[in-house]
């Protein structure tokens, strides 16, 4: 049984139906990248998965011992958080709340768990620093540590690379790979970075305005939507009379592991 099974899901944004008959599964060990045009329903899908919004049709079931509240969620950052006076430790600890919704305070085990996740993401030295004073990459690590506190099984990341420079972004890919391979945590990631999605992911869910693709990365490369999306990102744009001067520079992502 898969962690998450979606069958014939309908996604609606306001009153507009953006996606119909969407079916896919997420099983233990997957690294699923969700790509697609703006407005195709990616964020709505995330909201449905987390239960922030009911599905507008079809079914969404959780299995294999995964409960909905055990998804580790890395949201897009809001402007409120960027100015919030809180220490790194306080933010990371707040990921432990789903363990005990009745118990009023954090337990010793929670604190140990938070400390372990901070260690894993190499932010222990920042524990008493103020969250709003950190760089974008550091903030993302803090939110990732919080998400890891909330899950032992599955991470759901909503455009985690927004606003990060290429170096920090490739660092984040390294961290995710470490979490995926060494900690055995299943990853779902919404992203616009199709090239790296194909490079690091094991499966792709491409949702477009006319339909969707779900399958392995190799299948995606051969599929029409994959060729179009990957091809688009490599095509030079220039006007008819010009010769393109520069070949597109591709940054080869270094494999960065957290020390």
């Amino acid at each position: 049984m898969a962690y998450i099974t979606c069958e014939n899901l309908t996604l609606r944004y306001e009153s507009l139906t953006v996606q119909q008959n969407l079916s896919f599964t997420v099983s233990q060990g997957d690294y699923l990248c969700i790509v697609g045009e703006n407005g195709s329903g990616k964020s709505t899908l995330v909201k449905c998965l987390l239960g922030l919004k009911p599905a507008d049709g079809g079914s969404l079931t959780f299995g294999d011992g995964l409960k909905r509240s055990e998804i580790g969620y890395l949201p897009q950052q809001s402007s409120i958080q960027r100015s919030f006076p809180a220490s790194v430790r306080e933010v990371v600890l707040s990921g432990c709340l789903n363990g005990h919704l009745i118990h009023p305070f954090y337990t010793k085990a929670d604190k140990a768990r938070a400390a372990a996740q901070m260690d894993c993401l190499n932010i222990t030295a920042l524990a008493d620093r103020c969250y709003r004073e950190l760089s974008g990459g550091q903030q993302q690590r803090v939110l990732l540590a919080r998400a890891l506190c909330a899950t032992k099984k599955l991470l759901l990341l909503d455009e985690p690379l927004t606003g990060l420079d290429p170096l920090v972004a490739s660092e984040l890919y390294g961290i995710l790979r470490h979490i995926h391979e060494d900690h055995g945590i299943t990853i779902m990631m919404v992203t616009h970075d199709v090239e790296n999605a194909v490079r690091y992911g094991t499966k792709i869910l491409h949702i477009g305005s006319t339909g969707y693709f779900f399958g392995s990365c190799a299948e995606y490369r051969r599929s029409e939507s994959g060729r179009r999306f990957l091809g688009d990102s490599l095509r030079e744009e220039h006007c008819a009379g010009c010769e393109p001067k520069h070949a597109r520079i591709q940054i080869k992502a270094e494999e960065v592991h957290p020390e």
Binding site: G51, R68, P75, F84, E90, L101, Y106
Partner: protein, 277 residues
């Protein structure tokens, strides 16, 4: 100082000043705790809106001859709930909803009180009169404040989570709507209590000033909360003292002391070298 010594006869202290002190400290405490969440959630205006609703209800209650506090508390709690739902569904923006709401409530109150020719009786709820609180009012305030305080402490960790990131909190299975409602209800209770002492016009600033002062100085949530409480209680005591000394309205003095402390904190923040990465 001689003036102070003249005023502070033992009888005055035990009958008027001590109850005022107890009620004032209790309300300042609650106001600053909740103020931190309200300011951080970007809904500081809720306090203001509720105070208008509270004033309107008080006017109606007095005009009808009902017990003012006991009628106003439940009505303002209801108003807090409605305001929250309105700003959630947000076809109307949250601030627009508050503005409409508070103006209407105020209008109803003024209508009722002028119909019953009560303008002088209710005007002290507009500006507050902590030294005129009855023993019953003080006991009621103290008990409610203790309830607010205990509830806040009990849910501290969850209130942090909901304030910092609502969506994440909801995703981890926290009943965010309940906690938002809890914050609104506690705010409503505090606003009504504060209205007796600070007046409807000033109570919302009693919530906001200590919070923003603390946010200038602190970098951790817990430190912000504790500093806000200290600032709030300290400013209240100092403000009360000043008002006795120069014989002016207590509410105004407390807020002016808060303003001075806020200005000082801003200055300190400006002068402190920014900590390097």
């Amino acid at each position: 100082m001689t003036r102070l010594a003249e005023i502070l006869t033992p009888e005055y202290v035990s009958v008027i000043l001590l109850p005022a002190l107890i009620a004032g400290v209790a309300v300042s405490l609650c106001a600053s705790l909740l103020g931190v969440s309200l300011v951080l959630k970007r809904c500081s205006m809720i306090g203001d809106g509720l105070s208008h609703v509270g004033y309107g209800t008080l006017c109606v209650a007095v005009a009808m001859g009902w017990a003012p506090m006991q009628v106003t508390v439940p009505v303002v709690i209801l108003a807090a709930y409605v305001l929250l739902r309105l700003s959630e569904s947000s076809r109307l923006g949250g601030d627009t909803a508050i503005a409409l709401f508070s103006a209407s409530a105020l209008a109803i109150g003024i209508f009722a009180s002028s119909k019953a020719n009560l303008t002088t009786d209710v005007s002290h709820y507009m500006f507050g009169s902590i030294l005129a609180m009855t023993r019953g009012d003080v006991v009621f305030s103290a008990v409610l404040s203790v309830c607010v305080l205990l509830t806040y402490l009990l849910f501290y960790d969850k209130i942090f989570a909901v304030t910092f990131d609502e969506n994440f909190a909801r995703a981890t299975g926290l009943n965010v709507r309940f906690y938002n409602l809890l914050i609104a209800v506690l705010t409503a209770v505090t606003v009504v209590l504060g209205m007796m002492m600070m007046g409807a016009l000033l109570i919302s600033s009693l919530m906001i000033f200590p919070a923003v002062t603390a946010m200038r100085l602190c970098k951790r949530f817990r430190a912000v909360v504790l500093t806000a409480v200290a600032v709030s209680v300290g400013c209240f005591l100092l403000g009360l003292l000043v008002s006795l000394w120069v014989d002016t309205a207590v509410g105004a003095c407390v807020i002016l002391v808060n303003l001075a402390v806020f200005a000082a904190a801003s200055l300190i923040r400006r002068l402190m070298p920014a900590k390097g990465q």
